[in-house]
Symmetry: C2
Subunit: 237 residues, 2 copies
């Protein structure tokens, strides 16, 4: 699963929650425009450069702003560089899911089901900042939240965790030791570089929104539509 908590992962969960169909992701603004031009009906075109929607776009990358638009049943093309790069890099994996705080328990359950079906493991990939070259605090904390949810689902006494999963879990618990999950996530955002950037740009509603742990049961899954990447929701019982 790929985590890009602020804000690509949280945005795609929100778009699918509100009925976007299909939802395409593109790695650049130009690729998003080209894809939108090829679709039979005009999609909702959204994304951001430096926190603002590019020219000709219908919206940015703010889940709270996008949730206010009429999305149900509408095709959406989302331009997001980091999240798309991470998704594209995993295109060969048997099942690629998108996770964040919003769907932590649901994505953990889906990943576990997919792993059991294939007798495989679960890899949690943090998209990071600046093209994946920088460690991102909020993605690591969210990874720890997912590890905790996976641990809660495990029939074994303890999951077999590698060093990164164990560190992420300890990091997450360093926040939840002092606060309930939503406040813990908000605290991680407040301490993170990216969270502080978004607060500076005025996206405080998004930060509160993206910190609502387990608020959604939607699990986006990567599907290839020709050479385009799309995300489909599948909800677990």
């Amino acid at each position: 699963m790929v985590l890009d908590v602020l804000r690509a992962s949280s945005t795609v969960v929100t778009l699918l929650d509100h009925g976007a169909a299909p939802l395409y992701v593109a790695g650049t603004v130009d690729a998003a425009r080209a894809l939108a031009a090829r679709l039979p009906t005009r999609p909702l075109l959204c994304g951001e450069v430096g926190g603002l929607p590019p020219a000709g776009f219908d919206g940015g990358n703010s889940p709270t702003e996008l949730a206010a638009q009429a999305i149900a049943g509408r095709a959406v093309v989302l331009a997001t560089s980091n999240g798309t790069r991470a998704l594209a890099a995993l295109a060969a994996a048997p099942a690629v899911l998108v996770g964040c705080f919003l769907n932590a328990a649901a994505v953990a359950a889906s990943a576990r089901a997919a792993a059991l079906a294939r007798r495989g493991g679960v890899a949690v990939v943090c998209a990071g900042d600046e093209g994946g070259s920088r460690f991102s605090l909020e993605d690591a904390v969210a990874a720890g939240c997912v590890v905790e949810r996976l641990q809660a689902l495990a029939l074994e006494a303890t999951l077999e965790l590698d060093d990164g999963a164990l560190a992420a879990w300890r990091l997450y618990r360093s926040y939840t030791a002092a606060a309930p999950p939503d406040e813990a996530a908000a605290r991680a955002f407040a301490e993170s570089w990216h969270g502080r950037e978004l607060a500076r740009l005025g996206f405080t509603a998004d930060l509160a929104y993206c910190a609502r742990v387990d608020a959604s049961r939607v699990v986006p899954r990567l599907i290839h539509h020709g050479d385009a990447l799309a995300l489909h929701a599948f909800e677990l019982d």
Copy 2:
């Protein structure tokens, strides 16, 4: 500074503590042999492949075993792949130091002095496992220990920490919340992949030894001797 806690960093601190002069590091067994052949006097040749000294070597990479040898005033060539790779990658930095639990406070003080002299910052580089491609729990925990020592030295209320430094600090404190530093480091080793590997190979004395937080004031610093990499000790007051 470079951290390769198990065991290259701990080994070079120990070798310098015991008077090795000069101490060379080489990235491969062959490079170590070639360097040893070029030196005017026969050095102590040490290093490991799969946990054992290669043919013709005088010792492995075990700090407790090397500390038992006659080292004072003797040239040493240490073959260590991960640590040397990390050092070589930083060769352009103005000052490159080697840190681990053993010298956490001392390396923090040296790094702070070097950073203040250059009006720069401190970068803590975790060598990781498998050529740096894998996150290593013990290196991240030690990084957090160094961050805590840097924080204690700061005149400002709080240091400016990036997301990785903050996560490492929180990770370290997740161990020290329940135990004094030496036990915390030993616990991190016991949970880490590399620590469990070393325990399986019988190096339990090394694990206890490398977990002695702040036991040494020696700070190895990278020096270029022609195309060879050497480490010299400089001790702070």
